[in-house]
């Protein structure tokens, strides 16, 4: 069987309305907004300190509410990707 995914306590979230709105959404749901992801407009890096740093189960609970926020278009809990140096 393929290795099980490992989920982190980081999220990629697409929030409409600019950085201030992203900060508001993050704070409202208990996240820390670590800022825009590179140059990708409306995509933000959220961090949740009360979630396991690594887990084979994806998180639900409060994250479901984040998904339901009308300003949130898309979100993804970040999985660890196995990368090797060549």
């Amino acid at each position: 069987p393929p290795p099980r995914p490992v989920y982190t306590n980081h999220w990629a979230v697409q929030v409409l309305g600019g950085p201030a709105e992203a900060d508001r959404v993050a704070a409202a749901h208990g996240y820390l907004n670590l800022g825009q992801i590179g140059n990708l407009e409306d995509y933000y890096h959220f961090y949740h300190s009360k979630t396991f740093k690594r887990s084979t189960l994806s998180s639900r609970g409060p994250h479901t509410f984040l998904r339901m926020d009308p300003q949130v278009k898309w979100l993804q809990q970040q999985e660890v990707k196995r990368r090797v140096k060549r």
Partner: protein
């Protein structure tokens, strides 16, 4: 093999003499310098004002060989979220990789320390992102650091090269790539260079890595100093070019900067190749800072060469480029790259055409080939999508399969170029198949896009597999990238002519069905080749530097395409420009009277005239019909395709059609019947064909028809005989009954129900029971049943209809019958 260059550059860096892949300073017979980096330096290109960054585990920014070129503005620590990309030091020096890669690109020259970087005046940065959990966010951030400042991103990492992983960039990383090529470098496009992979020993295939397989990355492979495939090399059709790297134990490795301010002569793998190409591209960007991301790929296609790289699959594509799944277009040539870059004009805008989209699910038969074709106009009807000249070709597909590693996928272009999109991977036992996976090939670069494309999928089990579980092609689409205009037509007249020669000379014709009226073959010009010359200049050149193939009329330049007439043959037409050649290339024949190379008929590889019936050998995908001397895609009836010789060979006279061998018949001529793959003469009923005596012999008296004289060789039974246990018998044995079988003239003996001694008409219709069973109606039930059930119990049995259930019938029915 080249001779030592007497004018070789000298550097005081102590390990310069060990940089065998850059110079011939050691004056021994193992000298290699086909990458021509020194020649590019001599032309004055050292990477000045070009910014390269290494995406890796950090770089040692205070290394004496890196510090002079280190650029903090091109650096970032994504793992630590700060601006210092210094690696984390540990006892095992685990994080040495980025520092090693950085030295290859931009180690300082003449500082008496370590080595000389290929772009030793370029600025070098590092993005530390591999020393921690790598996520889509980490990758997207890393790929998108300062795209208007950093020119080239070099990455020597990727998903596991274990021969069983299929993985690529996530949603965010994909968007970062797209942002980079659209907006990076003030709109010219970031240049992403990627190592093709180290999974050669595990049988990995680099198309299963979505980073090297992306159209946005320049995927680089490696060759050993002797031109061999190194043990770690991964093949695939998305590899664009190659550099030297390490090989067998007796072959030299790469020298570069190392962690803790050291130098190393032990850098290895494809990791070496991406930074080398990044450095060489930096030289090209210094020569022409306006190159777009696609210009760079065009330049690599155009200037990389097979040199002495050994591979079994070098082929010439329909645009005349030599290409291989091992090495892409070959070894990079730094001098050719800077020379071409200097005079380069941007290629026309990229068009994308979804040429075909097929959502009909199809089973992939075991061992055989599932072949599906798409005839396309390449979006000729949409001016903003139309692709005439190809760059990248992508097949997006979803396939379900019980063992993914058994699959092989090929794509054949209208010009006949066959790319292997996927090879078997013995270690890939996954049953996940492919979901919207994009396989990319660069092997059709420069070819015409219009015509028939063929996707071939083959399922070759490497281990025993349940034959009932077949793979399924759920959907696929063909996405063509390229230009509507010729990519090199925007050059000055002279440049245009020479470029056209390279692209169009060996160009193969697309199938007739693929041609639109405007593309019908332009007739060859019959007049002698009289290239336009500038008055006064031709005479100077004609006496001194004409190409050896030029004839007595001289030339207006030193190249074979600048001759005024030819010694042997001229190749090409006035429209596509001509050049002089000593021998005509494949697809052409030499017309000695006219001293011209003329095109063979479609499908012919070599021929003696233009006629369809004068083919001597055929192009890939065609078979040579030896009686007709034609090239055909399918052998006609009565002939079979000999795959080893690519010929159509005659079937046995008794066969109407056959496969693989003359006597492996699939359809017989009249008067013959197919038996065990052979056509045997039809014999009278009750007789069979005796192949030893070559006459019809009597069947056993119990047989109606047969394949031999034995009792067990009946095909059909004689009248009143039933088929039982491979024999024809007058009556079925005990426990069997005769049953009619549709399509058979005789009855077949079938077994009665388990408890019946005999039955009639059906297996359940018992006429006698075995010992210990009693007949109840037409069933035989066990004697061991109780006979004292009370009324309530029977009601329960009846209301639950237990007697109708096979499990209970033996225990209930007799009981309840007795109880009323």
């Amino acid at each position: 093999q080249v001779r030592s260059d007497p004018q070789a550059l000298y550097f005081n860096d102590p390990i310069w003499s060990n940089m065998w892949y850059l110079h011939c300073g050691d004056k021994n017979s193992r000298c290699r310098s086909e990458m021509n980096v020194q020649a590019a330096w001599k032309r004055g290109y050292t990477g000045k004002n070009v910014v390269v960054t290494i995406l890796d585990d950090g770089i040692e920014r205070n290394h004496p060989d890196l510090a002079p070129n280190y650029d903090s503005y091109a650096s970032y620590d994504v793992n630590g979220n700060d601006y210092d990309p210094s690696p984390r030091y540990d006892a095992s020096n685990e994080n040495k990789h980025g520092t090693r890669c950085a030295g290859e690109v931009a180690a300082s020259a003449n500082n008496s320390y370590c080595i000389v970087g290929i772009a030793y005046n370029a600025k070098i940065g590092g993005i530390r992102m591999l020393d921690g959990d790598v996520t889509d966010v980490v990758e997207a951030k890393s790929l998108g650091i300062r795209p208007n400042y950093i020119d080239i991103y070099s990455a020597s990492w990727g998903p596991d090269d274990d021969g069983k992983t299929v993985d690529g960039p996530g949603r965010l990383a994909k968007q970062a790539f797209e942002y980079g090529i659209k907006k990076g470098r003030q709109g010219l496009g970031s240049i992403f260079v990627w190592a093709s992979g180290n999974g050669g020993r595990e049988g990995d295939y680099c198309s299963c890595d979505g980073y090297t397989n992306s159209i946005y990355t320049i995927s680089v492979s490696s060759a050993t100093e002797n031109g061999y495939k190194p043990w770690y090399l991964e093949e695939c059709a998305s590899t664009l070019a190659t550099t030297y790297s390490s090989g067998a134990f007796y072959e030299r490795k790469i020298v570069t900067t190392d962690l803790r301010q050291r130098c190393t002569d032990g850098h290895t793998g494809t990791s070496v190749s991406a930074p080398m190409v990044a450095g060489i591209i930096a030289l090209a960007l210094e020569a022409n800072s306006q190159l777009t991301w696609r210009d760079v790929q065009h330049l690599l296609v155009k200037t990389s060469r097979p040199a002495h790289l050994k591979a079994s699959d070098w082929k010439v594509n329909g645009a005349g480029h030599k290409v291989s799944h091992f090495y892409g277009f070959g070894l990079v040539d730094a001098e050719a790259l800077v020379v071409e870059a200097k005079k380069w004009t941007a290629v026309p805008s990229q068009h994308m055409c979804v040429a075909a989209s097929d959502k009909r699910p199809r089973s992939i038969p075991l061992v055989q080939v599932l072949r599906t074709t798409a005839l396309t106009s390449a979006c000729a009807e949409h001016s903003d999508q139309r692709v005439v000249y190809l760059e990248h070709v992508v097949v997006r597909t979803s396939i379900s399969h019980p063992r993914r590693g058994d699959l092989q996928i090929y794509l054949v272009s209208p010009s006949g170029t066959k790319s292997q999109l996927l090879a078997k991977r013995l270690l890939d036992l996954s049953n996940e198949g492919f979901t919207n996976w994009e396989f990319m090939t660069v092997h059709c670069w420069g070819e015409k896009a219009e015509g028939q494309w063929t996707l071939e999928i083959q399922d070759l089990p490497s281990q025993v597999r349940n034959p009932e579980k077949q793979g399924k092609l759920k959907e696929w689409s063909l996405i063509l990238y390229g230009t509507a205009e010729h990519p090199y037509h925007t050059f000055s007249a002279h440049q245009s002519r020479s470029r056209m020669l390279e692209l169009s000379a060996p160009e193969l014709e697309p199938p007739k069905a693929a041609l639109s009226p405007s593309q019908v073959e332009v007739p060859e010009d019959e007049e002698d080749y009289t290239a336009q010359s500038t008055p006064g200049s031709a005479n100077i050149l004609q006496t001194s530097v004409c190409h050896p193939e030029c004839g007595d009329k001289g030339c207006d330049g030193p190249n074979a395409d600048q001759c005024l007439n030819c010694v042997h043959f001229s190749l090409g037409s006035v429209k596509t420009s001509r050049k002089c050649v000593s021998v005509c290339p494949l697809g052409y024949f030499g017309d000695t009277a006219a001293r011209r190379c003329r095109r063979c008929h479609k499908g012919c590889e070599t021929c003696s005239s233009r006629a369809a019936t004068q083919c001597l050998s055929c192009r890939r995908g065609f078979y040579h019909h030896q009686e007709m001397n034609t090239c055909v895609t399918l052998c006609p009836a009565g002939f079979y395709a000999d795959e080893s010789q690519k010929n159509c060979l005659k079937c046995h006279p008794s066969c109407k059609k056959c496969v693989d061998e003359p006597e492996k018949c699939t359809v017989c001529k009249e008067g013959f019947s197919l038996a065990r793959g052979s056509c045997i003469p039809d014999c009278e009923p009750g007789t069979y064909f005796d192949s030893e005596l070559i006459r019809c012999g009597e069947c056993h008296h119990t047989c109606g028809t047969c394949v031999g004289p034995g009792r067990e060789e009946c095909i059909h039974c004689a009248k009143n005989f039933h088929f039982h246990d491979w024999k024809c018998v007058p009556a079925c044995g005990e426990g069997f009954y005769p049953e009619e079988m549709p399509g058979l003239p005789h009855k077949v003996c079938r077994r009665c129900d388990e408890n019946c001694l005999s039955c009639a008409g059906s297996s359940r219709n018992c006429s006698r029971c075995k010992t210990g069973f009693t007949q109840l109606g037409t069933s035989c039930i066990t004697n061991h049943t109780c006979s004292n059930a009370d009324e309530t119990f029977c009601e329960m049995v009846k209301s639950n209809r237990l007697c109708e259930r096979k499990l209970f019938i033996q225990f209930c029915c007799r009981t309840c019958l007795l109880a009323g």
